[in-house]
């Protein structure tokens, strides 16, 4: 399908259009999956079958059993509930939580509700596994480590700890092999599905829902949404290795083009990283101006600079890494982005920076 206009979205890390196969599944499920799957009549049984099949597919892709999988309204709510639920279930063991300095704000907010220790990251945005071990206390009940930050993409080490490990894989699912986990959170929007969060809790890990609902998270389950999320995840799993091989050289091209502009620092690990994402800091330029100027040139990107955040605070991830927070640009590639798109981006970048400065 040819593009109707020349605008290229380079912000896959924020959200993706529905995967074409997920759109088909969603449309089909509107007819068969509207009934309450808890009822006993025929339309309810059809809905139940769709839901069970979708849950099995999701669990299979995430590497868990279906009875270990909870469906949440969003990845953020899954993360928040994961931390609160472990603290609540393990209150006799303690309530201290160890987390990296670059966790999603939903994790940071939940951790801050009790005693917590932040583990620093290096300039590449990576924690050390030893740093986590050193931060453990007798009353530690949980460790939280994002598989790879959505802001810089550096992959994190696997943790082998005597406490349960919550892995925020919102950006990594469908993009990279997952590290070992005891609790796993994900977001279907980030893999080409609709808005849906997933929380997987290994059997034997003590977790209780923070809500008084038997189903874990409050609210009805929207079966077309769950089915579309499952179909999208199966589709990107099939495409993953080929997409990885296609995107890494394109990201390398963007890294080289950005690094060639004077006073630009490309941040994050150059190799041990998510395949689709690159972040750089443009000294002496405002992130807001860069985003707007790139938009005028037909490229939609995001920024971790404070001038582009709703709270006017710089990205805590960039601050923790020790890299410049003004002039921050994050480029992340979806399956729709072509080599020609990337070449055109690389071609306009130097003049965009010059105009903004």
């Amino acid at each position: 399908m040819s593009r109707v206009c020349s605008v290229v979205n380079l912000d896959a890390a924020s959200g993706l259009p529905l995967h074409p196969l997920a759109r088909e599944a969603w449309m089909a499920a509107l007819d068969d999956g509207w009934a309450d799957p808890a009822r006993l009549y025929g339309s309810a049984r059809r809905a139940r079958q769709l839901l069970d099949g979708a849950r099995e597919a999701l669990a299979g892709q995430l590497g868990c059993r279906t009875d270990e999988l909870w469906l949440a309204p969003s990845g953020s709510q899954a993360l928040y509930a994961a931390v609160r639920g472990v603290r609540a279930a393990r209150s006799r063991a303690g309530s201290h939580v160890v987390h990296s300095a670059i966790e999603h704000s939903a994790v940071l907010h939940a951790c801050a509700e009790g005693p917590a220790t932040a583990v620093p990251v290096d300039l590449a945005g990576r924690v050390s596994a030893d740093g986590f071990t050193a931060a453990l206390r007798d009353d530690t009940v949980l460790a939280c480590l994002i598989a790879a930050s959505h802001e810089v993409g550096t992959l994190q080490p696997a943790l082998d700890l005597p406490v349960p490990v919550l892995v925020d894989a919102c950006q990594a699912i469908g993009r990279a092999p997952l590290p070992p986990w005891d609790l796993l959170a994900g977001s279907a929007r980030k893999w080409g599905g609709p808005a849906l969060g997933v929380l997987a809790v290994r059997t034997g890990v003590r977790w209780v829902s923070p809500w008084p609902e038997e189903g874990g998270f409050p609210g009805p389950v929207d079966i077309p949404t769950v089915l579309a999320a499952a179909v999208a995840l199966e589709a990107v799993a099939v495409e993953r290795v080929a997409e990885d091989a296609r995107l890494r050289p394109l990201v390398a091209r963007i890294r080289a083009a950005a690094a060639a502009v004077p006073d630009v620092e490309v941040v994050g690990d150059p190799d041990d990283r998510l395949p689709h994402l690159v972040t750089f800091s443009v000294l002496y330029a405002s992130g807001e101006a860069l985003v707007l100027e790139l938009d005028a040139q037909g490229f939609e990107v995001s920024s971790g600079s404070s001038c582009t955040s709703s709270v006017l605070e710089p990205s805590h991830v960039l601050v923790a890494m020790g890299v410049s927070t003004h002039g921050s640009v994050r480029v992340s590639l979806s399956r729709d982005v072509t080599e020609a798109d990337v070449d055109r981006f690389c071609a306009v970048l130097p003049s965009v920076v010059a105009r903004v400065r």
């Binding site: 405002s286 710089p314 020790g322 410049s324």
Partner: protein
């Protein structure tokens, strides 16, 4: 030398510092007054990238020493 960047958003304090630092002698300091929350991380990162020394802050006053 003191640069008053109070009330100015990043990157303006960094731009002011980049202009001013070459005008002081190597070994001397420039004090940047800034209240943007991004000033501290950005001044530290700028010093790291430019090979200058971030000496610390007292309230809204940041001290940078010219090394080269």
């Amino acid at each position: 030398m003191i640069l008053d960047c109070l009330g100015r958003r990043c990157p303006l304090p960094i731009i002011e510092l980049a202009r001013a630092l070459p005008t002081v002698a190597v070994g001397d300091v420039v004090t940047v007054l800034a209240d943007d929350p991004a000033a501290e991380p950005d001044l530290k990162a700028w010093c790291r990238l430019q090979g200058q020394s971030y000496e610390g802050r007292e309230g809204d006053a940041f001290t940078v020493r010219r090394l080269s």
